[in-house]
Symmetry: C2
Subunit: 372 residues, 2 copies
Amino acid sequence: MKFMYTMPVKIIAGEGCLNENRALLMELGRKALIVTGKQSAQKNGSYADAVKALEANGQGFFLYDKVMSNPTVDCVFDAAEAAKRESCDFVLAIGGGSPLDAGKAAAALAVNAVEKDAIFRFSCAGALPIAAVPTTAGTGSEVTQYAILTNHAAQTKTSVASPALFPRFAFLDGRYMRGLSRAVTINTAIDALSHSIEGMLSVRASVLSDPMAKNSIKAIAECFRALKEDEPGLPVREKLLHASTLAGMVIANTGTTAVHAAGYQLTYHRNIDHGRANGLLIGAYLRFVEKKEKSLGTDRVGEILAALGMRNLDEFDAALNGLLGERERFSAAEIEGYAEAAMRAKNIANAAIAPQKQELLAILQNALAPGA
Amino acid sequence: MKFMYTMPVKIIAGEGCLNENRALLMELGRKALIVTGKQSAQKNGSYADAVKALEANGQGFFLYDKVMSNPTVDCVFDAAEAAKRESCDFVLAIGGGSPLDAGKAAAALAVNAVEKDAIFRFSCAGALPIAAVPTTAGTGSEVTQYAILTNHAAQTKTSVASPALFPRFAFLDGRYMRGLSRAVTINTAIDALSHSIEGMLSVRASVLSDPMAKNSIKAIAECFRALKEDEPGLPVREKLLHASTLAGMVIANTGTTAVHAAGYQLTYHRNIDHGRANGLLIGAYLRFVEKKEKSLGTDRVGEILAALGMRNLDEFDAALNGLLGERERFSAAEIEGYAEAAMRAKNIANAAIAPQKQELLAILQNALAPGA
């Protein structure tokens, strides 16, 4: 069995971990570009913790807090300009997937001369050192080499990927997830679940990534009931956070597959949250894989179900539907467009059982317009 | 839950992985100090593969092939002198735990001025870059920051530990284990099993290390029957190899505990193979932990048994005894000496349920002189 595995991120977890381990930040540089969204880092206490740590270290910082959901190329160039203008020599990215990915991309753009229209094809050989503080439990960006940005030219979201984008440190503090809305908690948990499931279905799945994927799937499934509560307790928050980091460690090694490729279409064209978009699609994708596996003699779907603690995909669909609530409606033309565009995504070929175009169309029809 | 996790080693696995990925070695330097034992790397093909890769890269090398089992301080200083004299700028360590650990220690000593009698207390801030090629499936040294050396002053084996000792690359090729004797295969598998079990019983066990530990325990237990065969097939060799690397990833983050601490005594004083020494002790240690857990309300032993696919420790003892065969005999005085010395080892305090001196003595008595 051939495989590769890499995970250069040092992971530090626990309440107060950022300040208790603030000495680590000293290894990164003298002045941080703190990258956040517009509000949440201020509300959840993570920004205050970061400032406290940097000030105690005698390190400077400049706050770039203009990252929107599904960050644009303009936004990350703007952040990189701020890093250069303010002489920041490292990036401290705080937030959900959008600020983390934007911070990582900015770290790369601060030290590479790239034209805006070349960002999705440039070879990134270096970046400012990065520390990441997730404030949602979904993206896994704190442990990946990916920065996913809105790609208007291709009308989708596309990743910039480079080993230089691995953060040096990921600080996991479950307290920052307190107060997240039920919808955000559910959508991000489904995103992490999708990472681990897609990781198990990747051509690059290995004996090293599988244990992480299965454990993360199990942990998230154990939280399904708690996900519907208005404010899950800190133990649940931590469990989801650690599971999402494990899922990030998985996709750092396996990549994602058809679910993410098609999910980006729903986000780009209908502004459906990324995790929710994956959730709308993953059940139908698993049905497709299950059917294919019958003739191949493999049973990855069975292994996924075992990790979920479920007997069959009906149970999985029921659980997901309970979390997703009423589904959006899509026209036949929309669905055809998504299938066509998703087939061009590089992560399609990453699936061990990759759908052909007609098969992907059927998956999307089953997922987005069942019975139509 | 507070924890840290780090694993900076890039792992490359599969038949022929060293030559297929030989370009990676170019990142390490111009000239390798190849560190091996006296014969096995020549016999199993790993040395020839390494030479082929280096020559194809146009890299030079010098062979240091004098590493003995349980390498001495003199040996690693000798290897480090060779690296300096021959202007080697990286280390390619090939072999079982002894050559890997010796190579890693030599990489450190080549760039640090240390007196021989200070080697177990020096703070190692840097080392030559290291690539590791395991040829047994046990040590996990290819993914750890430890180099374990014979410590004559303290009459035991002691680790030198530093983040600088993590190899940059670990190349896992199961073909190099073909032809290992049944005894070596068994002893090294038990060593890896002990790493994962002790990792689960460490104060530093975490939601990241546990999935790796459990999966590695499960994989090794599934090989128990094949371990008794004269030449297990390549799939079994690979399964054991990947499990031992997983176990190494565990102890890189958790450290080992009382079993290793006491096992070093058996190796130092009676020349009992390291893995076998752990195997002689681990059953009794688990009985001790199981008893303590009754009052603590935890059930780590139950989790370990579940990973083993066994119902109770009687089954585990029976399986281990079947692999270990007839046990060595030890005098009461020997056992007392081992308990006393092991209590001074730093890994004793690493156990979540750490034995007091009288408890460790009782564990060793139960393990080494049952019924006496």
